[in-house]
């Protein structure tokens, strides 16, 4: 007897033959249903769902071959073995049986042992086929489920990684992921000061494993940028986070740019990405920016180097950034797109406004039908007047409840801390507790940043601001700054904040005192600190923000005031 009885359909017009076959099959332990012609056989197939069909060839009404064709076509991908019962000997007749969907033959007189062997063989085959179908369907279900999960996860991912300001008019970008998730990350966010941070990252690999690393990266980038942290701090934090969470051998090639609209300058940190191009608007010349660091997530915090390169930009100068997917895209013949082809686009360009589209079209035309084998990301950033990109969006929804209005605080930075620590986020955090000042955080950040760098660079380090007049001096200035920092001994910068309530709102007084020698300010009014004599001190900028500016002592003390009115803010 068999483990699992099968349901076997016997279709034969000859009653005595049917009796013998049915006896053999029942003896084996299977169930039997019968049909006397082809038409009945097809009907029985639908009603009885037999596992195996024994089908006579020559039958009235509909012959076995026709019946087999009908049964096989309605069975679709289910396996229904058909064994033809025949005494046909002609090879073409046998071939016809196979063509109509027969799987085997049984010749008359019926041999019990051979029939048993055939039924067993087909039973095993059906079972295997069924298992295979089940597993295939299971895999397909799993896959569908996984794709669905990925789509949901992608929505979350997109919310986290695309929360920035990539839609600003000075940015063009293209992200074309190789799989649902992108191994490339493109982030942009405005700083409280109005400047902009941009980050292009390319994680090892594609898809989910790459995207997972992108989540904390984006969180850190957006969170710290909004709080006013500098590029240096943000990169350190991302590096140490990635080093901690990524397995060895996985990392993220990154380029981060700090773009200052007011200073018309970019600061670049690049690790592991191909050269970027800086296109000068006036001359059409291309300057290449090369990677100078290891990718993020490779070095420990101690070994990490956050040194940046600075470039002066003029209006309409453009920076082109890309992941290696552009240069390494391949055509049908397997050739790489390569840097030469990329450079040719720049050389042949007639209209800088169309350059971005030219690159996209040329790369797409090159890869053609061969498809992509990596994520490709392309970004163009243009230097524009700050007015073109609008105000930084500050959350004013917290309302105008008074908050702390009558207080004083002193914060002094000394020695190494002065060199390495950025105090602005902490101080901005405290000022932001005054709701009205929270709304001014962009301006306050700029104000404190300018005063701090004046106190530190011109005061403590004693650097001359004259150098920063042109591009050459600019570089020289930063070289001197490096040197002076190394040889700096004791030194300090003290911030004193004083906030008092007024009838209209409040008055903030900020006094910054440095340990430097000061300078000759006597006889000069605030509006006379023109760019000519004191370039680089950002004094016009400071004056534009606060109500008054005053130098005291030997010029090593500067006092600014800023008043706010509740009325003015409500408007």
């Amino acid at each position: 007897m068999v483990d699992v009885p099968l349901n076997i359909l016997i279709a034969d017009d000859n009653k005595s033959d049917r009796l013998i076959l049915a006896a053999i099959v029942k003896k084996m332990g299977h169930k039997v249903c019968v049909a006397e012609d082809g038409v009945q056989a097809v009907a029985q197939y639908h009603s009885e769902k037999p596992d195996i069909i024994l089908l006579d060839v020559m039958m009235p009404n509909m012959n076995g071959q026709e019946a087999a064709l009908k049964i096989k076509s309605s069975a679709g991908e289910d396996m229904v073995p058909i064994i033809f019962l025949t005494s046909l000997q002609d090879a073409t007749d046998l071939a016809k049986c196979l063509d109509s969907g027969g799987d085997d033959f049984l010749t008359k007189p019926y041999n019990k042992i051979i029939l048993q062997a055939k039924i067993n063989a087909f039973s095993r085959m059906s079972k295997m086929h069924y298992t295979l179908q089940q597993q295939r369907d299971l895999i397909s279900d799993h896959n569908e489920h996984m794709v669905h999960e990925q789509e949901v996860a992608k929505a979350v991912y997109d919310n986290v990684t695309h929360a920035g300001c990539l839609n600003l008019p000075n940015i063009k970008h293209m992200l074309s992921p190789f799989s649902v998730f992108n191994g490339d990350v493109l982030l942009a966010a405005r700083k409280p000061s109005g400047s902009m941070h941009i980050l292009l990252g390319d994680f090892t690999g594609h898809g989910l494993p790459a995207a997972i690393g992108a989540m904390p990266l984006a969180e850190i980038f957006y969170g710290m940028t909004a709080k006013g942290f500098l590029m240096d701090d943000i990169l350190r934090e991302i590096n140490s986070k990635l080093k901690k969470i990524l397995p060895i051998g996985y990392f993220c090639c990154v380029c981060m740019v700090n773009l200052s609209f007011r200073k018309q300058q970019i600061e670049v940190w690049m690790g592991g990405l191909p050269d970027f191009y800086l296109l000068r608007h006036d001359t059409g010349q291309v300057e290449k920016l090369a990677s100078t660091h290891l990718p993020l997530g490779v070095l420990s915090s101690q070994g990490f180097d956050s040194k940046t390169q600075r470039f002066s930009l003029r209006r309409n100068d453009r920076l082109f950034m890309w992941s290696d997917g552009i240069i390494e895209s391949r055509n049908d013949q397997g050739d790489l797109f390569g840097e030469t082809r990329l450079m040719d686009i720049f050389n042949g360009n007639q209209d800088q406004d169309h350059l971005f589209d030219d690159i996209v079209n040329t790369v797409n035309g090159f890869t053609g039908e061969s498809g992509k084998d990596d994520d490709t990301t392309l970004l163009e950033v243009k230097m524009v007047p700050e007015a073109d990109v609008g105000e930084v969006d500050i959350d004013m929804s917290r309302g105008m409840i008074t908050g702390p209005t009558d207080w004083n605080m002193r914060y002094t930075l000394r020695g190494d801390t002065l060199k390495t620590f950025n105090p602005l986020p902490v101080m901005l955090g405290i000022l932001s507790d005054v709701p009205a000042l929270h709304g001014l955080s962009g301006q306050l950040y700029t104000l404190m940043a300018e005063l701090f760098s004046n106190a530190f660079e011109h005061g403590v380090l004693g650097l001359s601001s004259d150098l920063k007049k042109d591009a050459k001096g600019f570089a020289e200035y930063y070289a001197q700054r490096e040197l002076a920092m190394k040889s700096m001994g004791d030194g300090q910068v003290m911030f004193e904040f004083d906030h008092q309530p007024t009838k209209a709102g409040g008055l903030l007084t900020l006094t910054v005192t440095d340990s430097g020698d000061g300078f000759d300010y006597v006889g000069k009014q605030a509006n006379q600190f023109s760019e000519a004599g004191y370039s680089g001190r950002g004094i016009p900028l400071i004056v534009s923000i606060c109500d008054s500016l005053e130098y005291l002592g030997q010029g090593n003390i500067v006092k600014v005031t800023l008043s706010w009115s509740a009325k003015g803010l409500e408007e």
Binding site: K15, S16, D17, L19, K27
Partner: protein, 110 residues
């Protein structure tokens, strides 16, 4: 001539058990009807019908272990398929005689 293959018929009896008698009766009534129709078809020179009936009889006779009778039907089927009914080697009465002997032998087994 051996009417029935005796070792095979023993196996068939074992297989069919009490249904053996039913099988024999089914075979006999089927044969009698078909042999009459076959004779008419041959007389009418209807080759396709002759082929169809003799094919069926050939198969069922083989299954009931009547090898010689099955051979006789096969000879008729072969000629019918070539549309040469006139060249059937044995006269039809030989077929009828052999059938009667098979019938007798089968009924003896009951």
């Amino acid at each position: 001539m051996a009417r029935l293959n005796m070792s095979q018929i023993d196996e068939l009896k074992d297989l069919m058990e009490e249904a053996f008698a039913d099988l024999v009766e089914t075979y006999i009534s089927d044969c009698e009807e078909k042999i009459t129709r076959l004779r008419d078809a041959i007389e009418a020179s209807d080759a396709p019908l002759s082929a169809e009936i003799s094919h069926s009889l050939k198969g069922s006779s083989a299954n009931i272990c009547a090898e010689d009778l099955s051979e006789l039907f096969k000879a008729i089927e072969d000629q019918a398929r070539q549309d040469t009914l006139s060249q059937i080697p044995q006269p039809f009465s030989d077929v009828q005689d052999e059938y009667q002997r098979v019938k007798g032998a089968l009924q003896n087994l009951l």
